[in-house]
Amino acid sequence: MKITNAIVEKHGLKLEEYSKIKKLLNREPNFLELGVFSAMWNEHCSYKSSRIHLKNLHTSGKQVIQGPGENAGVIDIGDDDAIIFKIESHNHPSYIEPYQGAATGVGGILRDVFTMGARPIALLNSIHFGSVDHPKTKSLLNGVVSGIGGYGNCIGIPTVAGETKFNSTYNENILVNTMAVGHAKKDKIFYSKAKGLNKSVVYVGSKTGRDGIHGASMASAEFDENSEDKKPTVQVGDPFTEKLLMEACLELMQDNSIISIQDMGAAGLTSSSIEMASKGDLGMELFLDKVPCREEKMTPYEMMLSESQERMLIILEDGKETKAKKIFEKWDLDFVVIGKTTNTNNLTLKFGNKVVGEMPIDALASKAPLYDREWTKTKLPKKKKINNLKKIKLEDALLKILSSPNQSNKNWVTDQFDQMVMADTIQKSGSDAAIIRIHKKDKAIAITVDSSANYCKAHPYTGGKQIVCENWRNLISVGAKPIAITNCLNFGNPENHQVMGEFVECLLGIKEACEFLDYPVVSGNVSFYNGTNKKNIHPTPVIGGVGLITNINNRIDRNLKEDGNIILQIGKNFGQLSQSIFLQEIYSTTDGPPPEINLSNEKNNGLTVSKLINDKLVLSVHDVSSGGLLIALAEMTFGSLYGVKINKSKNLSNLMEYFFSEDQGRYLVEVEPDNLKKINKILDENNVFSEIIGTVQKNYFEVSGELKIKKNELYRINNTWYNNY
């Protein structure tokens, strides 16, 4: 087949990129080779627009065993335990086919984690939908939530935390980010780097079908009115097979049979084989007739580009084939030697004894295009004095916010997930962070996932810092020591200078916060081209954080514990309302800058709260985040038998600013009156600002002189929206 410009463009390659391919090959590629190049050189696989910026991130630390660049990041949590985790997007497929798109997103991220030798112990998700009035939102929400549940529930990994948000910016391009966390022994971690010549390359797992061909290229383009036609590029998930594959791989990993292992994710057999060879500085020869196929007469092109799920590529030590094969047969899975490592540094594709494609590995991987795209800076929006707003009562504002889609209780979502399977879930959704016990040990990890797209849109640099801080704060609030993060960077079209600027500046903010808090990034994923017909989504970096609780008895939650205890606000409230939930929900205003981030206060306040928790001086802790003080207080009553009585501060100039500002670095803690002196001493010693704001009381949620509502009624109001949607 003659390769025309039209064919090149259909593969998502620019004509200048095609010229580069011809130069690297010294000839024209054939159709199969063009397909392989397009799969490797698309944005999703090559990170061509983001690579030069990603390398600036803070990625190292004492507890980092493996940073970005592998299937997932690995951290040391003491003893012989390691935690392996990563977050990834499955946005485009989920918009086209919500159930399968979301389900295979879960499947893909789980494979990234167990490929490295970890047994997955938790799943999280961050899902963003369009406006609740948009005609597609309801069915997308239904499909995505049941897809996430359908996969995780079946494979038997608890889905323990997440966030569900609505904003018209995602009307035509939803976000589905899923995170998997696994536990491994430190000395049993597996990598994808190939080693040794003439080693068997083994294909295990499901058979290859025609599903998902060019999935990665689809994910590297904007949507248009014909997006629905892309349905065949969405993969179909089979969690049952993945469960078998997981058990078989973990069984094989018990001894030393495996040299390297890589899952077939985006761009399937192509990217997995090239990745392994490229890292090992080797060549690889594949005999494509041997690939187990689900459908008849599949061509080498289809086999190389299929994104059929639940497949792995393994390079085995000599003499281990029989034993390995027995394990996969036990689990009723395919196990076929389909190739070998070579010293040619080429990817050689054979079909029926003929070489049908041959390309240098470095041309496909390290020599892929790299762009330093133009970008523009976003100015910090001016603070506007908010005058002339229609007066609203504190109670009305509170109830309106608590019953809004974004602040409503998400039980409707989380009840569709099995949060308890594996029986190590200490704390599940509806808390600052989930807590998962390390099996049969007295320690646990805390995990959370967060995003603040509105802040990032208003000022990407501040938003980038804020979201790392909020994530860190959530882990502090449950008694954990934050260790490391994974990030999923969801942005619009990088060829647009403003979007590229949002990316660069968010990343700069993330980098600075990570450095300051010693909270390195160990894995992640970039998803560009989120938008339709030139309308780009708000910049939405999603941060997944992991912390360690060395002794599970030092964990803490946000539920109020005892009548008469004092509630202390730690950190300063400046009354900054711009970009707050209050202004959005009550006045539909999204002007002004996001709340300022003072990294030094953030760290100092957080570490001091940690000390109070470890000294057992506080009984409950909750961070103050979106919605501000009053919403945070309400959340402390939802899982508790008690309410609160808040005394208005005497020198309060503006009620709304005080109760709804989203100033950062703040926590609410519940303390016994007898401990107050001790606590104040610690706060003073560390120069941490605090104020007593009220006390715990029975039955009522009360702000003196302003509102008094039955606590159960408040919970009911918070619990209505989803059930009526």
Binding site: S146, G150, C154, G156, W331, F417, D418, M420, M422, A423
Partner: protein
């Protein structure tokens, strides 16, 4: 007491049950579905999960597996059998328990803590619970909506073959507190001889106050009495 946990491809609560049994002093063995014989067992547990992916129908394929023939033989000889969640579904597929488990009434997967009431405690599995004791257990299923014929329901009620019904935190049994639409709020049933128990909630998730509570412990320790 010797226990065996049957492991099917797709079982995912097998480890959790094994941990519970070992913690509560059972001498437990795992039995692979392709095995042709059972180890000596006083109790056989069919754990939760998605055996064979729940393809065709929940529990349908597992119900026809090799090892199930052995389980049926043992059960008919009086061996104690406990099917939890998918295990309950498998037991109805084999006919060891009558009735069927339909899709939940809201047609969604349900994963949450619910209250159940110990209605009948005069049996081997429940003798350590107090009659009418209210327990909080976790459910996690798509198909937990128990259904059977009128005659069989009458038999279940008359012969005290319903150990647990869904209820609210105060023990009221009504449609509002029935999470999945199950007939008469049934959360579990016995066979005639009360040696086979099928249960939708997961007692093995409730054996440790750090994780949840201790409400599931007595279901296992009753057997040791």
């Amino acid at each position: 007491m010797n226990s065996s946990v049957i492991v099917f491809p797709g079982s995912n609560c097998d480890r959790d049950v094994a941990v519970a049994l070992e913690k509560l002093q059972f001498n437990n063995k795992m039995v692979w579905h392709k095995d042709m014989s059972l180890p000596k067992s006083d109790l056989i547990v069919i754990p939760g999960g998605f055996s064979y992916g729940d393809y065709l129908r929940s529990g349908a394929i597992a119900g026809k597996s090799n090892i199930l023939n052995e389980v049926i033989k043992a059960a008919n000889d009086g061996c104690l059998v406990l099917g939890i969640c998918n295990g309950f579904q498998i037991l109805t597929e084999t006919g060891l328990l009558k009735g069927v488990l339909l899709r939940n009434k809201n047609l969604k997967f349900l994963g949450k803590d619910v209250h159940i009431k110990a209605i009948n405690t005069d049996n081997k599995f429940c003798n350590k619970y107090k009659k009418n004791q209210i327990l909080k257990l976790n459910i996690a299923h798509n198909e937990g909506n128990y259904f059977t014929s009128k005659d069989h329901l009458k038999e279940l009620e008359d012969k005290s073959l319903i150990p647990f019904k869904y209820c609210d935190e105060n023990g009221n049994i009504n449609e509002q507190n029935n999470p999945n639409g199950s007939l008469a709020g049934i959360a579990g049933i016995f066979n005639d001889k009360k040696n086979i128990l099928g249960l939708m909630p997961h007692p093995e998730r409730m054996i440790d106050p750090i994780i949840s509570n201790n409400d599931g412990v007595n279901l296992f320790t009753s057997l040791l009495n």
